[in-house]
Symmetry: C2
Subunit: 581 residues, 2 copies
């Protein structure tokens, strides 16, 4: 492709709202353009990049016996009503009525659609396991899209769905899918990608993993044991193994603590650490019920864990009026004097297992010292209280496996895999005849990869100040020819010949034939980020040489013009090998 004809400009300025390298360089390099918030068009360079990523995904899905299909973007609501998700999923599911008044939706995932197919197409254990996947457009009505291709509304996703006769079969296949994902992220050139246990959330099922591309700009927080493998978890479900201080209980004492409504205030007033206090947090669940949480003063509530315990898809903070109605005093609230028959109480282990905490007195301007959960809450109340791990893990907390301090990292979720079990197949009556001739629900797994997000994550891990440094395996072109002073001497002729010869030899070439100034051309080449570069100029041609440069190095090498094509072909092979698993 001649750069003079390539549709898609390089842009000097970063978009105003762009913070991350991938957002900045995908726009500046002419890879994509915003059409609306979180909705992008891919320009030809971006489309080539994405097509290569899709090609790698397709090969790996076929390798694990996936069969490619294509399901619709627009689905009838009735399918999601069958699974129950039409009601339970929030505003990110775009619902609309068609011109005949029928409820429809834009699919953001295809469990229902694939189960709809499986229940007619699969009916005997002899056909199982079976895996179907697609690479297809999805829409998620994000309220706040951000970071370019990382959090968008419309996106291309590879989603695969496997069906099994037994849990063992699902687990074995899940391992194969996990390996395929490792191969995919390696092959697309992601240097730093880890899989971690995760919370299945609205997808349902029990076991699931997220594939996280490590990157500073990632939206996800991850905890990893120092050895990098013993323990890896998303913050949403990460656990640590802290030992809480267990001293002998001292006598309770009510103290006057005026104007100390926060933990920080009361700790300062009493000259102690927040960890010596107990914190009270009030939520309202989706049914409007109050949830009262006790946790140690220095620890944050992990709402994902709490939502699971109280079985509520959402939790919001309760108002002061609601807190008062529950018999507590906002700012000085504690479990003391709370009627556990009227309020759902959840206590974190950090609160139940600590000694001599300072807690609110449920009276304005007063706290109580030396609270001890087991001593101070009678057994009948304790029976009604849930004690559980609802703590947010912190950087350096002890690893639950090794006890070593956990490392906190940030990542971009590029893929996820779920052992769904029978959540969808039971709800939607998707059964097969087992070897005894009995109809039982299929056991399901599902496997997603965000294609655009993968591209963005590769860039986050592979760029410099001037632009992307694309791995050879997904680069939109393999070599970039810059013809300097194209009108001088043989430059045009030599460049055209090189261009033709490389194409002839199967190389994907981008040819800057515009006759622009050297600095301008090099800036554009850096912004595009093709891994190899040949620079043809009158000066070096005098000696029968051209310059060879790699995008990931600042060095240039003078090579014989006659050897240039061979070197490029050889280097492409070397680079492609580098990303082979």
């Amino acid at each position: 492709m001649r750069l003079s004809q390539l549709i898609g400009q390089r842009i000097k300025e970063a978009p105003r709202d762009a913070q991350t390298a991938s957002h900045i360089f995908l726009i500046r390099g002419g890879y994509c353009r915003p059409v609306s918030a979180g909705i992008y068009s891919l320009l030809p360079l971006g489309k080539r990049l994405v097509a290569k990523v899709e090609g790698i995904i397709r090969e790996e899905m076929n390798r694990i016996d996936g069969q490619e299909a294509l399901m619709p973007v627009v689905l009838p609501a009735e399918l999601w009503q069958e699974s129950g998700r039409f009601e339970t999923v929030g505003g990110e599911l775009l619902r609309f009525k068609d011109r005949n008044g029928k409820d429809m939706l834009l699919a953001m995932t295809h469990e229902e659609a694939v189960v709809h197919l499986a229940r007619t197409e699969l009916n005997s254990y002899k056909q199982l396991p079976a895996m179907m996947y697609q690479i297809q457009t999805k829409y998620r009505d994000e309220a706040r899209p951000r970071a370019g291709l990382i959090r968008v509304r419309e996106f291309t996703m590879k989603d695969g769905y496997s069906f099994h006769a037994t849990q063992e079969c699902l687990e074995a296949y899940y391992e194969r899918a996990h390996e395929a994902y490792e191969r995919i992220f390696k092959r697309v050139g992601m240097a730093d990608c880890i899989s971690i246990e995760s919370d299945p959330g609205m997808m349902g099922g029990k076991v699931s993993h997220e594939f996280m591309a490590l990157a500073e700009c990632g939206e996800d927080t991850i905890f990893v044991s120092p050895d990098g493998s013993s323990y890896k978890s998303n913050r949403e479900c990460a656990v640590s193994n802290p030992a809480y201080v267990k001293d002998a209980p001292l006598e309770q004492e009510k103290v006057h603590t005026p104007d100390t409504k926060s933990i920080e205030d009361v700790a300062a007033f009493l000259s102690m650490e927040p960890s010596q206090a107990g914190k009270a947090v009030f939520y309202r669940d989706m049914d409007g019920n109050l949830v009262f949480v006790c946790i140690r003063g220095d620890i944050e509530v992990n709402e994902a864990k709490l939502r699971k315990i109280v079985q509520s898809a959402e939790l919001i903070f309760a108002s002061d009026a609601e807190i008062e109605a529950a018999g507590a005093v906002a700012g000085y609230a504690s479990i003391l004097g709370i009627d556990c028959d009227k309020v759902r109480v959840v206590v974190d282990r950090s609160f139940a297992e600590s000694s001599n905490l300072v807690v609110g007195a449920n009276e304005a301007d007063y706290h109580v010292k030396n609270f001890n959960y087991e001593r101070d809450i009678d057994e009948e109340s304790r029976d009604k209280i849930t004690v559980a791990d609802i703590a947010t893990v912190r950087d350096g907390d002890p690893c639950p496996r090794t006890g070593e301090p956990l490392r906190m990292l940030r990542g971009i979720e590029v893929g996820n895999i779920f052992q769904l079990g029978t959540k969808y197949t039971e709800a939607m009556h998707c059964t097969f005849l087992n070897s005894n001739g009995k109809a039982v629900p299929m056991i399901m797994g599902c496997y997603g990869i965000g294609v655009g997000r993968t591209v963005a994550a590769v860039l986050e891990q592979s760029h410099d100040d001037y632009g992307p440094i694309w791995p050879m395996s997904i680069a939109p072109y393999q070599v970039h020819i810059c013809a300097l002073n194209i009108k001088k001497g043989d430059v045009r002729e030599v460049s055209e010949k090189l261009y033709a010869e490389l194409i002839e030899r199967g190389v994907e070439v981008l040819f800057d034939d515009r006759g622009e100034k050297a600095g301008f051309m090099f800036n554009d080449a850096d912004l595009i980020g093709i891994p190899l570069r040949l620079i043809v100029s009158p000066k070096t041609l005098e000696e029968g040489k051209v310059e060879f440069k790699r995008r990931d190095s600042r060095d240039r090498e003078l090579i014989d013009l006659s050897a240039a094509a061979d070197l490029v072909v050889e280097q492409i092979a070397v680079e492609l090998q580098r990303w082979q698993p």
Copy 2:
């Protein structure tokens, strides 16, 4: 692929609502499944078929310098407000609000989105011509989807858009696109596809062509001159060249014609042909104005032509009350006594150029004989009347070029190309700097192909009573191995070896390894429609032979097992050659 593992059942019964071969066999053969009215999932066989069609389209678009891009399915309304189509396009455009209350739509075509790109990415005549295309999902909220993949709501379309500095450049490129389309439809194996002049309709622009796959079940009616090339046109804009009978005017005569509200009634009552009468038809346009049409009694109004003349996107029949309000008597209406200042009158040439017609008297139960337009309508009124061709052409009408009787055919519109001109670029301020440094609007062309519809049309032209007969160029697999009595003798071993050898040699093989009865397997093979078939059975193996069969023939040939793979490889090459342009 082993048929035992292929996801997608063959089905014995045709779907209840299916009338056409493509609808019946794409469902019965396990190619696709309905999800909602006009919304389908592609099963793996269907996806492979579609991928091959897409591959051919992609090659031909690249050959004419197209650059592949990808634009969004969901677009902000503001883009379509800029072009004016957000308001002018009807209910088939799916409009909705996102969760932030912003107007959005599901794109059914991408002129606005591509112009949005072109105005930032293309700015100099040096970059033109430039063509960008995509293969992408579209949604059109059809009120009445029908005929399987032929008229759907969600579909995959290849849409390309070219930008030019001059009209000459557009015209030259349009020719190249026309040739590329001919190559595409040839390469996908369409035996009978013609391009015809068409009405650009809501797309705008002047010159456009439709590519019509000829098929009995087609929704479009086409008129073709007997030589097949002098004249070809869609009924919507077809013209014929009838000579109207021009006799000497006779004296007007009012006759009593009780209960003759229709042309048929009055013709029967007066013992004449409908062609001797004049017909009055009343419409209401989109602004609510009455449009009064006069046409010869035996000719139907072509509403597409009429809509253009009165510049109204829709026309509906007026009510009797509206007709009376215009000073006419429903059932006995005519132009006689109509006030041309109050009502827009459009007269077909057949009415203006005929002599001595019977027309309504604008009085209940009376007609007037011997109406002659020029004589009976005064010049002042005639100046306010539009005389034009608004006639629907009929089978056998004289060709406007040769005068020979036109043939009426039916077709499926599989592609269309438009010289759009500056309709979108002017409205959306998409300009470039010409060689004089002046900003002028780009001149545009657009080029569409319905991918699923193309698949369906190929099937309509290539099937028998038992299923599709896929051309080699798009068949989901190239050869189908049937292993009969798989447990007997060497059948399994030989079949597995053949399967492995063919795959090794790059052949796409479907292997029926299910051990079903011969008749059942052959029925399935016919329903799937793979072009070549090898039948391995204990009987023929005794003599070292297998059977070779083509899907398009009922004959079977006994061949040496040792020559089977060679024959298949050779026949694939021959078959692929057959669809080369």
